[in-house]
């Protein structure tokens, strides 16, 4: 509308603006399918989850939902009986274990991934074979590798349980189980981390290192003063990716610990148990919303604290 009113005073700009406006309109039309797809596959389920989080609903008959406000999160009954998942010690144990799992496994994966990336970035014979081979653990579906590790941890015939530990199952004790799970995750995802870091390393200019060599900077100095600062953007994106993945961890716990113990060990396991095993659609949705919020807070913290740029 504004373009039209300006038209008589400055014809040439209008034409250019007219083209831009046309392009913008075209762009919207081209974007529309993607926006609709996002609304349908991401927006709608999210809104529906938020809707159900404030209702008491059963999985087998979702149409009979009853509005209960925030009591799925926290509430007090007539006789002072507390309900809502925030009053459940199992939920807090799941949060604690998930955070521990995330912090430790991502830290280990970053350090080990960096070491591996630096090694395979240097020129040596059979380098491409090495790069391919290191991705094998990551390429195996998690349910398969989790079952494989569960067998290895078995105290009666497992390579680790029987062979290394002489008939002890690390999964039997919840105190050691979390470390056994971290080991599996590190084994599996370090190579992915290494791949992301390697991509970052490849983009660094080699003449810079030649100049540094000429100036007599040691390899150690080169790493700390040049490689690491230049690698920061790639490293941070990799860190965010892995942290989010680790916070959403589900399959490793579920396969290796079984449904009940997994619910005490991972937030998603807790959500699944509430929603599927107990068919409490409302409570399960409330837990899902809480996980969503928690992950969002952590992402915002990451992005602001490290000033990550996504463009």
């Amino acid at each position: 509308m504004t373009n039209l009113s300006k038209a008589p005073t400055a014809p040439p700009t209008t034409r250019r603006k007219g083209i831009e406006a046309t392009r913008a309109r075209q762009a919207i039309w081209f974007l529309l399918p993607a926006l609709i797809a996002i609304a349908v596959v991401a927006g709608y389920p999210l809104l529906r989850t938020i809707y159900f989080s404030m209702h008491e609903a059963n999985l087998t008959s979702p149409e009979q939902a009853k509005y209960v406000g925030f009591t799925n999160f926290y509430g007090t009954g007539d006789e002072g009986v507390k309900f809502g998942f925030l009053t459940d010690p199992k939920w807090w144990s799941a949060v604690k274990n998930t955070l521990l799992f995330t912090v430790v496994s991502v830290a280990l994966e970053t350090v080990l991934g960096m070491v591996i990336a630096l090694v395979v970035n240097s020129a040596f014979k059979g380098r491409s074979l090495m790069r391919t081979a290191m991705l094998i653990p990551w390429a195996i579906p998690t349910v398969v590798s989790a079952q494989m590790w569960a067998y290895m941890y078995n105290d009666n015939f497992g390579l680790i349980g029987r062979g290394l530990l002489g008939g002890q199952s690390p999964l039997a004790d919840t105190g050691t189980a979390i470390w056994a799970l971290i080991a599996v995750d590190v084994w599996k995802t370090t190579s992915f981390m290494a791949l992301l870091i390697l991509a970052g390393l490849q983009s660094l200019p080699s003449d810079m290192y030649e100049a540094a060599d000429m100036d007599g900077a040691s390899k150690w100095t080169q790493f700390w003063r040049m490689t690491l600062p230049l690698l920061r953007p790639a490293l941070l994106v990799a860190l965010i990716f892995r942290s989010l993945d680790a916070l959403r961890v589900f399959d490793v716990m579920y396969v290796m610990l079984g449904p009940n113990t997994a619910a005490e060990t991972s937030m998603t396991g807790y959500a699944r148990q509430a929603m599927i095993d107990n068919s409490q659609l409302g409570l399960g949705s409330a837990v899902s919303v809480a996980i969503f919020l928690l992950i969002m807070v952590i992402v915002v913290m990451y992005v602001t604290a490290f000033r990550v740029k996504f463009d």
Partner: protein, 424 residues
């Protein structure tokens, strides 16, 4: 010529398609996959298909019952017609009744009357017959006859204390030559199977059934606490520390490899233990599970068992009912009893000579199968799953040494009160 050939081929193809149609409908059944279950289900389905001209597709379900329930609930909530016949656990009818057709009036009344009345009652919700009982299950004590003889015992243990003494002696002796040998294996993983095992411990010590028939929470009592402490004392002594990660199949694996003197398991383990590849073939004895000591102690076996129900969303209900009636009928139950040690749900079959020949213990343990201790799925209704999880979780904490029996049952009573809220 070419045209004629095309015509002939086309006619032939159409005739074939018509034939396939005449061959009837395809019925999909979701049955269990523990041990020999899947094969038996496929064979049974094939026999029905041959007799009726229909086709059967077998849907492979997950091993753990908890996983199965989750999967089925999603299918049913989505009103999916993919699966026509479901195999239901004895504790599920109350939760899933609305999704299944009423078999009353669709199956002849005389057929319904031929089953154990208690099992028909368990499958009836309100006045609706949700499913037909397919096989029943009760916990049993398996033992190695050769080991008992070797260490100077003449009969299976009758109390838990006896079991512990015998297992400890045999384990100590056998470990001199076989480091992997253990005394006793059971289902100690935190899942529905542990609920069954622990209900046996509690009931056999006179500790009640967690929640009584009127819905009152009864678990907080000294007998129940003692029962859990006793079980915890087995872990790392006569049972391996990893027993708290075992389900049915893990326990069977150890026993069948000849690495355990005693095992608690369901009847299906008998047929597999007598199989050609079993290292303990011909060396297995079966007895009722031991009882505790003190007032109210009795032998107790957890009641299990599976039913067959027809989904309301099935597009081939008539054929599905026919399949259910056939599979739960006497001829098929007889085959399953002989080949897979599945306990019949028809009293008449417990007098069948062929069945008794294959499973000699069926006759002598008749009372174990018919008088088994039920899990509190009746009084707790749709909240049963939460009750069972809370119970198995508390028991698991005792087994892994995180707490003791007295504290566990007290905490459990509080948790159950919270789950109960204003009522079951």
């Amino acid at each position: 010529m070419k045209k004629a050939l095309t015509l002939i081929t086309l006619t032939a193809a159409m005739a074939a398609a018509a034939n396939a149609n005449a061959a009837g409908v395809t019925v999909t059944i979701a049955c269990g996959t523990v041990g020999i279950e899947l094969k038996m289900c496929q064979d049974g389905g094939a026999r029905w298909a041959k007799a009726t001209g229909n086709t059967v597709k077998v849907f492979q379900s997950p091993n753990l019952t908890n996983d199965r329930l989750g999967l089925y609930q999603q299918q049913l909530a989505a009103k999916s017609s993919d699966i026509d016949v479901y195999q239901l656990d004895v504790v599920w009818p109350g939760q899933l009744a609305q999704h299944f057709i009423d078999l009353n009036g669709k199956v002849p009344a005389a057929t319904i009357k031929s089953y154990f009345p208690g099992m028909i009652a368990a499958d009836t919700v309100g006045s609706k017959l949700v499913a037909l009982p397919w096989f029943t299950d009760a916990g049993l004590l398996y033992y190695r006859t050769d080991m008992l003889k070797k260490y100077g015992y003449t009969k299976a243990p009758t109390t838990w204390a006896e079991l512990a003494t015998m297992a400890a002696k045999i384990q100590a002796g056998e470990q001199k030559t076989n480091k992997q040998f253990v005394g006793y294996v059971f289902q100690g993983k935190d899942y529905e199977g542990l609920t069954c095992d622990a209900v046996e411990w509690v009931v056999s010590n006179g500790g009640g059934t967690i929640v009584d028939a009127s819905g009152k929470i009864t678990i907080n009592n000294p007998n129940a606490a003692k029962a859990l402490d006793t079980a915890a004392s087995w872990v790392k002594t006569i049972s391996p520390s990893g027993v708290t990660t075992y389900g049915e199949e893990e326990a069977r694996g150890i026993f069948q490899a000849g690495n355990s003197a005693f095992m608690r398991n369901w009847p299906y383990a008998w047929a597999l233990g007598q199989g050609a590849d079993s290292k303990v073939k011909g060396k297995i004895g079966v007895a009722p599970l031991p009882k505790g000591t003190g007032a109210g102690a009795r032998n107790a076996a957890a009641l299990g068992g599976w039913q067959l129900g027809v989904s309301q969303y099935s597009k081939n209900q008539e054929a599905a009912i026919s399949l259910v009636t056939y599979l739960a009928g006497p001829a098929e139950q007889k085959i399953r009893a002989i080949e897979g040690t599945y306990n019949p749900t028809l009293p008449a079959l417990y007098k069948d000579a062929d069945i008794l020949k294959a499973n000699p213990f069926f006759g002598s343990l008749y009372s174990v199968f018919t008088g088994a201790a039920a899990r509190p799925s009746g009084p707790t209704g749709v909240k049963y799953n939460q009750v069972s999880q809370a119970f198995s979780g508390a028991v698991h904490d005792v087994l892994t040494g995180k707490t003791n029996g007295t504290k566990a049952v007290a905490g459990l009573a509080t948790t159950l009160a919270r789950i109960k809220g204003t009522g079951w």
